[in-house]
Symmetry: C2
Subunit: 272 residues, 2 copies
Amino acid sequence: MPNRTVFFVSDGTGITAETFGNSILAQFSAKPRHVRRPFIDTPDKAYQVVREINDTAGREGKRPIVFITLIDTEVRGIIRSAHCLVLDMLGTFVEPLEAEFGIKSNHRVGRFDDISKSQEYTDRIEAINFSLAHDDGQSSKNLDIADVILVGVSRSGKTPTSLYLAMQHGIKAANYPLIPEDFDRGALPSALVPHKKKCFGLTIAPERLREIRHERRPNSKYASLENCRLEVSAAESMMGREGIAWLSSTHKSIEEIATTILRDIRPDRLIY
Amino acid sequence: MPNRTVFFVSDGTGITAETFGNSILAQFSAKPRHVRRPFIDTPDKAYQVVREINDTAGREGKRPIVFITLIDTEVRGIIRSAHCLVLDMLGTFVEPLEAEFGIKSNHRVGRFDDISKSQEYTDRIEAINFSLAHDDGQSSKNLDIADVILVGVSRSGKTPTSLYLAMQHGIKAANYPLIPEDFDRGALPSALVPHKKKCFGLTIAPERLREIRHERRPNSKYASLENCRLEVSAAESMMGREGIAWLSSTHKSIEEIATTILRDIRPDRLIY
């Protein structure tokens, strides 16, 4: 599939079109070229995209694949007239739902009159601020309002996972490192003790941890395989002893880690 | 549409199913209850979900809507046997693509053998670390390797946008505040001058800024409407003078802001 182009054409940001399109394209081994055309909401703009699609088809000798999220019937019709394979996510699924619900759709694509004023959106921004302020044990204040506290050795994946939970799910995710001093003392950091129930552990294969730490501080004791082994094993024992559930981040993406954590903590305010 | 439940059933994290499902549900005014069932990858787990769907149908007197991203034919068939309306995103779109490409699909849903080892994933994690280290002008080091530097007054939306760009698009997004001292001096912070070309501005309506700042520091001069007006107007003049493109975050979601910035900066390494 070389010389093949995929277009994402949307009357909004195109995030939905692209996210969905990518999950479908991930089914195929080849990597086509991506072209994003957001905010296509007038016939004029649509005709411009059609010219681009047709030029591409001529140049590549293969018709492009075009993922669309377009509400306006006229705009949609114009794009359909191009020399391409159109995959229309809304048209295919919204109509059966109208029949099922017995109501007409709003003819909107993931857009709200003013998303920035919705409670859900405000909660997400607040969660991001909370997670930033509570990154890497920076603050023990307000841990009582955290939805989850990720714990684990340095560089086990806590920070990106916390931010992802906040950004995608509006979860107030603090994270707190387990460090050699804690292992020597044989006890959880005292700030965590009252909140043990909402702690969730991340662990990681010592070999992978060594690689990650080595990039940060080459040839340090901190990055040595021996030290990584000791820290990981001490952290796993401690989490086991304290009854803290954990998972390994070694072969998992942030999305997979986050989904597993959500399934486990099932915060009351999410129906999960 | 009260007492109506929507299920998201996936053999992976379910992020794709949910993102797509939500963009479709946003077409309707009512808010059904959401239930997420990720990692459904065996017949046993599928039968459990079927029981849940049927129980819900009985209790609510209406068949649930079920968005699925399931590759395994057996698992898919089991879910289809439940009393519900199934909306199958992969089945509907992957098959025509197989015909178009003339190759069989990988039968995978946005998953890779080991995503954590792909270059794309490593770049994303690196971008998150970069964006965190360069949040709020914390560091002027390595600004030359930033893909974009967001500028604007305090609380104009720079931090969440930077993190989103890093997390979703692997963009190294620094952010740097424009503060009263800069306006008094009438010049950009000196660290930004060599990198003006990759600066992108965020602005915000003074009334909205006042609300946001008021939550942080109630009744401060910082949060007063008069001060917000002065800062916003000074920042907009400065960006105009320096030839820095900007947009207003007032009525936009992070996703919309990020998409607009990407369209504008078109980083070379993304085919955008």
